[in-house]
């Protein structure tokens, strides 16, 4: 997928002006995923859930500390059970591997369950390019595939669309009478998808986790499409990032408890599919050939560096569900596959700091994301680190750097500072007039007054008032 993250500001402005989108984003309001999570945490017991988060973070750290060992173990176990494990250094290479598999097995149609890595790599376009028709089977992914749009949320890809928009889209795409009931629309999508499930010869899934101990992949879905994609077609490809390897099945159990509660507030998703190797001699179903494609795509660059904690991410979406910025502008503003706080860290980390300059700054550092992250990724700290890296590499605008440096330079000289503050307090107070507020500020302040007045200061600095009061005290005492 093409990276548009340089244009966050423009895209955010568009999102703010899009009334339909703004109405759809209200889904994140008082009855949204954040509230479902809060209820689930309450039911689980808040303290127990905190312990679970700690356990989750430890499991992920343990896996990442010896990533190479666990990847090797995964490869050995998966291969022993009849699967083929392939490695791709880049996203393009990952696409090539899938296309190669398509050619080898003479694939004509592929059904897909949700895979963010496939979005990263632009796999659907690549498949189309060699005449293989990819069909997204996750309902949300299916909707945005029909609409030719990228996902706007990592677990609810079509959350930016309203029921009415989907109804119009279905009527047009399915050439059937327009339906307005969600149940009817879902049935219609199911009817449209069923022939694809039965006729596809390749199933492409993502992988929420790869279990080193058994060489298995695990996928979490609510619609059952993941189960069908991984069992019905004669070839199954599981494509995911190398960082998804976890040591044991026991670890999977712990992480699943965290993942579904954090994502949708469910104690467990409707389906958890764990797939290990192709169909065996005694198995009734399953693919004849099974491939795992483990993609690096910039991930090893994060190992051992400032951003390593980001590799713990289990893709639950809780950070965006709780993010004031995400909830205001939606996922498309972020300009690549991953939106919200995790996207604001991952995008510059994967596609380059210079290609996503705004993202680390497009956060209020309110730390809502940090306190809900199931694996305790310190997202605000990572965003701040990215800001530091931008400064170190000279990527910030000169005026901004000058502003900060002048500020701190003056702030280190108390008398100069007192003088400047006295002058500023006085000037802004005068500008505020009788109403005590300023409707338009110049220079950097202009950003503030786009949508807000600037309350004028009281006119005198505290330091001056305090010194004066002290002097008066002394006179009274003396």
């Amino acid at each position: 997928m093409q990276v548009q993250s340089m244009y966050f500001k423009r895209r955010a402005a568009q999102a703010l002006g899009d009334e339909i989108l703004q109405a759809n984003l209200a889904k994140f309001g008082t009855a949204g995923l954040a509230q479902l999570r809060a209820q689930a945490v309450q039911a689980y017991g808040p303290e127990a859930f905190e312990r679970l988060r700690t356990a989750g973070a430890e499991i992920r750290d343990r896996g990442l500390a010896e990533l190479d060992t666990y990847i090797e173990r995964f490869e050995r176990e998966a291969t022993r059970r009849g699967a083929t494990v392939l490695f791709a250094e880049s996203r393009a290479e990952a696409c090539d591997l899938v296309l190669e598999i398509c050619r080898r097995h003479r694939i004509r149609k592929a059904i897909k369950s949700k895979s963010m890595l496939s979005e990263e790599a632009g796999l659907n376009e690549a498949l189309d390019g060699i005449g293989v028709h990819p069909v997204e089977t996750d309902l949300g992914e299916y909707i945005i595939q029909l609409a030719h749009e990228p996902p706007s949320h990592i677990i609810a890809p079509a959350v930016h669309k309203s029921k009415d928009e989907v109804a119009d889209l279905f009527a047009k795409s399915h050439a059937r009478p327009r339906k307005s009931d969600i149940g009817d629309m879902t049935r219609e999508a199911r009817e449209a998808l069923r022939p694809h499930f039965l006729s596809a010869d390749l199933g492409i899934s993502g992988g929420n986790f790869l279990i080193a101990e058994t060489g298995s992949g695990a996928v979490v879905t609510n619609e059952g499409n993941g189960r069908m994609v991984t069992t019905l077609p004669r070839v199954h490809v599981c494509i995911t990032g190398i960082e998804k390897v976890i040591p044991t099945l026991e670890d999977l159990a712990t992480l699943l408890r965290l993942l579904t509660r954090s994502a949708t507030g469910q104690p467990i998703s409707n389906y958890v599919s764990v797939f290990t190797g192709p169909k065996g001699a005694d198995d009734l179903d399953g693919p004849e050939h099974m491939y795992f494609i483990l993609v690096d795509g910039g991930r090893t660059n994060l190992v051992g560096g400032d951003m390593e904690a980001m590799l713990r991410c289990i893709r639950c979406g809780a950070c965006m569900n709780h993010c004031p910025v995400y909830k205001t502008v939606g996922g498309h503003a972020y300009g690549w596959v991953y939106p919200g706080p995790m996207g604001a860290v991952l995008t510059p980390a994967y596609v380059g700091l210079e290609n996503a300059l705004d993202l680390p700054h497009a956060a209020t550092l309110c730390n809502q994301c940090g306190v809900v992250c199931p694996v305790r990724i310190p997202l605000p700290e990572l965003l701040r680190k990215l800001r530091e890296q931008q400064v170190e590499r000279g990527l910030r605008p000169r005026t901004e750097m000058l502003g900060i440096r002048v500020w701190s330079w003056v702030a280190q000289r108390p008398r100069l500072y007192a003088f400047a503050a006295r002058w500023a307090a006085r000037t802004l107070w005068l500008l505020g007039g009788r109403a005590g507020r300023i409707r338009r500020l110049p220079l950097a302040g202009a950003g503030w007054t786009i949508g807000r007045d600037f309350p004028a200061p009281q006119g005198k600095t505290f330091r001056d008032l305090y010194a004066k009061a002290k002097r008066a005290d002394r006179r009274a005492a003396g």
Partner: protein, 280 residues
């Protein structure tokens, strides 16, 4: 004497021989002078309060005195360094952190009428001195004695009777840093409950960010104002006469948006102003 030293000889006050450590100029400020045996509480006013709303500083002094503290206000204090820190400029943040250390190290406690600046000193300063064992230790000890104002009044000074009174209903906005970095949640509410005439009425999503975010508010003004708008709607829906919070940054953002929305009625007050009866 270089021209820079000449310049600084005027603009620095309380200039002393300058112990240098690591990079940059540090510790060029004398520790606050101590006279008394009481609980010596250093008030870190914050740059925003100093410049924009000194009544909050006066209110904080009044509250601390009401709690029996001896209040020290080091006159050379300026900014905690957060703007630089959050903009990725560690060097300037570190310089200002060292300055705060020098100014407040002599106090028994440091009290800040802002969760954001308090959180900076308490939770982020150590990050700036990583690998400098001696300074790091001193910074950690300073952080251990640093409190957000309401937290200090409730948990350290145990203030029983607040001097203020307020006729009307207020709703409390939990500013992010105070809430999530310092655990400020029950303290301001407990104190507000003791203000004669005041009724607290909670708004929906009181823990939701107001959209201020420091430089975020000017860099992404439109997004910031849109987030503030949601907060304002919740404040208005609560029907309270005033919205109260513990961070001036948030208050400026909320007040600015309320007024732009055409709400000239709802008062926007710092918790210290309400508790001290110093609401402007």
């Amino acid at each position: 004497m270089t021209w820079m030293e000449f310049f600084d000889s005027f603009w620095f006050t309380q200039r002393k021989s300058t112990p240098r450590s690591g990079t940059g100029r540090v510790l060029s400020f004398a520790p606050a002078r101590i006279h008394c045996n009481d609980m010596r509480v250093g008030l870190f006013v914050t740059c925003l309060v100093d410049l924009m709303r000194p009544s909050i500083g006066s209110a904080a002094v009044k509250l601390l005195q009401a709690a029996g503290c001896q209040v020290l206000v080091p006159p050379t204090q300026t900014c905690c360094g957060q703007p630089g820190y959050n903009s990725g400029d560690r060097r300037s943040a570190r310089a200002l952190a060292a300055k705060v250390l020098g100014e407040f190290e002599g106090c028994d406690y440091v009290v800040v009428p802002s969760g954001s600046c308090g959180g900076m000193i308490k939770t982020h300063y150590p990050d700036l001195f990583e690998g400098e064992a001696v300074l790091l230790d001193r910074i950690r000890r300073l952080g251990g004695r640093t409190y957000e104002l309401t937290d200090f009044l409730v948990n350290v000074a145990r203030l029983e009777r607040v001097p203020g009174r307020f006729a009307g209903t207020v709703t409390y906005h939990d500013a992010c840093s105070g809430l999530r970095e310092l655990g400020v949640k029950g303290q301001p509410r407990a104190l507000l409950a003791g203000v004669p005439g005041l009724r607290l009425k909670e708004m929906d999503e009181c823990e939701q960010c107001c959209g201020f975010g420091g430089t975020f508010a000017v860099k992404f003004g439109e997004v910031s104002a849109a987030i503030a708008d949601r907060k304002c709607a919740q404040i208005q829906a609560s029907g309270a006469d005033a919205v109260v919070a513990g961070d001036l940054g948030c208050l400026l953002s909320i007040e600015g948006r309320l007024r732009r929305r055409g709400d000239g009625e709802t008062k926007v007050l710092h918790v210290a102003e309400v508790l001290a009866g110093e609401a402007p």
